[in-house]
Amino acid sequence: MKLHLKIWRQKDASTPGKIVDYTLDGVEGDMSFLEMLDILNEELVSKGEEPVEFDHDCREGICGTCSLQINGEPHGPDRLVTTCQLHMRKFNDGDTIVIEPFRAKAFPVIKDLIVDRSAFDRIQQAGGYISVNTSGNTIDANTIPINKYDADEAMDAATCIGCGACVAACKNASAMLFTSAKVSQFALLPQGRVEAVERVQNMVRQMDLEGFGNCTNTGACEVECPKGISLTNIARMNREYLSATLKG
């Protein structure tokens, strides 16, 4: 199939960017979206032009590196997939595809389609851990039985890949789904309860400092999340936050 691509090109963080038009022929349905961009880049390199830079690594939907706002949706039109697992069979011959970086004040553009998501790391550094030493000198793993439903729910929250689609989907560029997934994972486990009060306060504080917007419960984040992280996590974080504030 033949595609018309409208791609955001930006030299670096300080230079203004713009949409550039490309036409690409010979795209097959079995290609992933990123493989389609590989072919475009191969053409650009052969013409001596600079290729379109985009973030990607594992190409199997788990590392969370790839991003891209495709026709206005983070990770494109398919559900429960990252861009690297989006396949071209979801598009038709002659389609026009607009490809932009994830947009958010807290995710500044580095180059072309690459954005800086280090704000997510700093939210995790503020409290996304359990303060145990890594010495292994701890109790036997089966000492504390954990209800299977709680363990499974913690696991569901923990599957967040930190890609930032939730932020890019949100009209407020809120990072509540991302932050609440980590808060929830630990809140659901007995090991995590010990520091629950400090954790939620510190992580929310950092989230606000980074310039992410507020949550107005539109639910766009849940729809676009490639891992299906549930809005319930935001409700849980709000509850945790309120109770932490009351405990003071």
Partner: protein, 667 residues
């Protein structure tokens, strides 16, 4: 013994590690604050080592090419992590895990190292649970286990099909705690370009900021390389696109010996290649072999009909299917080790029984598992005489709970529903057992330069068992390296900070710049990927699942020619001093072009078949691997001497005091 000293402690096997920990020198907490350690790579091994070293009190700097440590490729490990907990009461023990690993590795790993690995395996699970890693549990609240290939017990802990992700996020959270305390400085989007030696000791690295293009100098008292494997030398592999050998290869060029490069694991269950545009391959976890049965048609005409789309696999009668693993290996069946399963798939496809368009795929079928689970679920749900549709529905729900994310991934990529029709799979490059040679302390042949995780060669011999990579990465990172490195650093308590304005740093930085300018200066005909794909084809066709003398010799010549062509004709747009992904790729491919040749040289010299290294000249009448313990019971460690063809071989003889060497049999 030659010049390689493995430093395995003396004494009984089970006491070696304890004795060693008691014997080595320690650094007191106050002095640790004056010692800097660089950790390159932030996957399971690097992330765990960085967190633990920082916790012990050292000043740690971490480097990764990704935008965050959480993205290291350990994250993609699916199936699980082994530990000799014996929670299932099925007779597991440290000794059994040790024995299975040595045997699975086809008797090409060190007893001392592997026993230590088994010994600390249980601690890893305790540690990860304490960190909040949400492992799968049973209804009673206890941890659940599953089985993996090459063993007869259930010792694999898992978190759905995302065990690597959960363990990595555990290590990442431990790192974050230390970053928050100011004990780790994390340099993300940075690539190590070279190792800096001062007075023969590793004292720092030259790194490139991948955003600004700036070249930076970083010094330390020791450098830990935890940079993963080199599977991408094959271009197509299950590794991440950025996975590379640069850090390890730079260290090799500075004096670190590279061990057993030809020991590469071809994983049996990956999604087959669909076309020339393919950029990477996707693994379907080995855990699927717990429940999936592997088969091809018995009759050639059926295979042809399936390939041409005239016959659906579900229409083929049971007696017309060849469950070749169950047929050839009745004791282990579908759970034979990876190398055995991969070769068996290749054998059937080469014989013409492949089931996809390219003829390079076999079926992995869940129909029997769905029926079995459905019946069981119907019973426990109190359903009497359920019909077939109900059984199938219940069974599919059980399978979904176990492998849902894998099935979803398969469907997205292949556009077929694996609940209704069998998966198609084919072997793909997955893991490299070879790597930097290290002693028992995980130190390379360069003093002060350590290698951990997949980057070293140490524990898996010629074939790694499933769910053992996560175990080794975390064992090295959390429990081995942080202690053994103290023995070396205890000499450095009075050294003080290492200056970066020395002539050694000047020289190293100049070499890095010269190399990049040379890369950019090519006449510009072909892209980096053009060369990478060509290299990959040579490697896959001539150094892949089956190798022979003639083709290996051809490979050496072809890779050497390709390397020359690359340096003359590669085309890299953009500039050195800005973000430039083509330049990043070029630096990595340049090193693969050297490693590839050494790989072939190593495969050529090893005149035996063992584990993942199968030489067609050395096989039994039934086509099984023929090992030669008399002549090849050693680690082949290569010393850099300029061109890969000139590399000098050093042998570390493997001593087996506790295990009797046997022909591996899974029949």
């Amino acid at each position: 013994m030659g010049i390689l000293d493995s430093k395995i402690p003396s004494g009984p096997l089970a006491d070696k590690w304890t004795k060693h920990k008691n014997d080595i020198n320690l650094v007191n907490p106050a002095n640790k604050r004056n010692i800097d350690v660089i950790v390159v790579g932030t996957g399971l091994a690097g992330g765990a080592a960085a967190a633990t070293l920082a916790e012990l009190g050292y000043n740690v700097k971490t480097f990764c090419y990704q935008d965050s440590p959480r993205r290291a490729h350990s994250i993609a490990a699916q199936g699980g992590i082994n530990a000799a907990k014996n929670y299932q009461g099925d007779g597991d023990s440290n000794y059994r895990l040790f024995y299975d690993t040595i045997k699975g590795g086809d008797y090409r790993s060190r007893e001392g190292n592997v026993y230590r690995l088994a010994e600390v395996s249980g601690n890893i699970i305790d540690q990860c649970v304490a960190q909040g890693v949400p492992f799968a549990r049973e209804y009673g609240g206890m941890l659940d286990n599953r089985s993996f290939g090459g063993v007869l017990v259930s010792r694999t802990f898992y978190a759905k099909g995302q065990t690597g992700q959960q363990l990595l996020l555990g290590a990442y959270s431990a790192m974050n705690r230390q970053i928050n305390r100011g004990k780790i400085q994390a340099y993300n989007r940075h690539e190590m370009m070279d190792l800096v030696l001062v007075d023969g000791k590793a004292r720092g690295i030259i790194a490139r900021d991948l955003v600004s293009g700036e070249i930076e100098r970083h010094s330390a008292h020791a450098v830990v390389l935890a940079t993963g494997g080199y599977g991408n030398v094959f271009f197509l592999s299950t590794n991440a696109m950025g996975s590379n050998v640069m850090a390890a290869w730079r260290a090799h060029r500075k004096g670190a010996f590279f061990a057993n490069p030809c020991f590469t694991q071809i994983h049996p269950t990956c999604i087959p290649v669909s076309g020339d545009h393919q950029s990477k391959l996707t693994l379907m976890s080995e855990s699927l072999r717990n429940d999936g049965r592997i088969w091809v048609p018995k009759k050639m005409e059926d295979a042809i009909a399936i390939r041409e789309g005239r016959l659906k696999p579900t229409e083929l009668a049971e007696e017309d299917r060849d469950y070749y693993l169950e047929r050839r290996y009745p004791a282990f069946g579908n759970l034979v080790p990876r190398d055995v399963a991969s070769r068996a798939a290749k054998e059937r496809c080469d014989a013409g029984f492949g089931v996809n368009k390219t003829g390079e795929a076999v079926f992995l079928d869940f129909a029997s598992a769905i029926e079995r689970y459905g019946k069981e679920k119907a019973l426990t749900s109190g359903l009497k005489n359920p019909d077939k549709a109900t059984i199938t529905k219940l069974g599919e729900e059980v399978v979904e709970a176990k492998y849902g994310n894998l099935f979803q991934m398969y469907e997205k990529i292949v556009d077929q529903n694996p609940y209704k029709t069998p998966m198609m799979i084919y072997p793909a490059v997955h893991y490299t057992m070879g790597g930097l040679w290290v002693d028992y302390n995980l130190q390379t042949t360069i003093p002060g330069c350590y290698a951990a995780g997949e980057a070293n060669f140490s524990d898996h011999g010629a074939n790694r068992l499933g769910a053992s990579a996560l175990m080794q990465g975390l064992a090295d990172g959390y429990f081995v390296l942080p202690y053994t490195i103290g023995d070396y650093l205890s000499d450095d308590i009075r050294t003080g900070a290492i200056p970066t304005d020395s002539k050694e740093f000047d020289e190293a930085e100049k070499q890095v710049r010269d190399r990049m300018e040379k890369l950019m200066g090519g006449s510009g005909i072909h892209s980096v990927d053009y060369y990478h794909k060509k290299l990959g084809k040579i490697m896959w066709n001539k150094c892949g699942m089956a190798r022979n003398e003639k083709e290996l010799k051809e490979a050496i010549k072809e890779i050497s020619d390709l390397r020359k062509d690359f340096w003359e004709n590669v085309k890299i747009p953009g500039s050195i001093d800005s973000k430039n992904q083509e330049l990043e790729k070029a630096g990595r491919v340049a090193d693969f072009l050297e490693l590839g040749e050494l790989f072939a040289k190593d495969a050529l010299h090893r005149n035996e078949s063992c584990g993942g290294h199968f030489r067609e000249e050395y096989q039994t009448e039934e086509g099984e691997a023929l090992r030669d313990d008399e002549n090849f019971k050693y680690v082949a460690a290569w010393e850099y001497k300029g061109e890969p063809k000139d590399a000098e071989l050093h042998k570390e003889d493997l001593v087996y005091e506790n295990i009797e060497l046997k022909t591996r049999s899974y029949k």
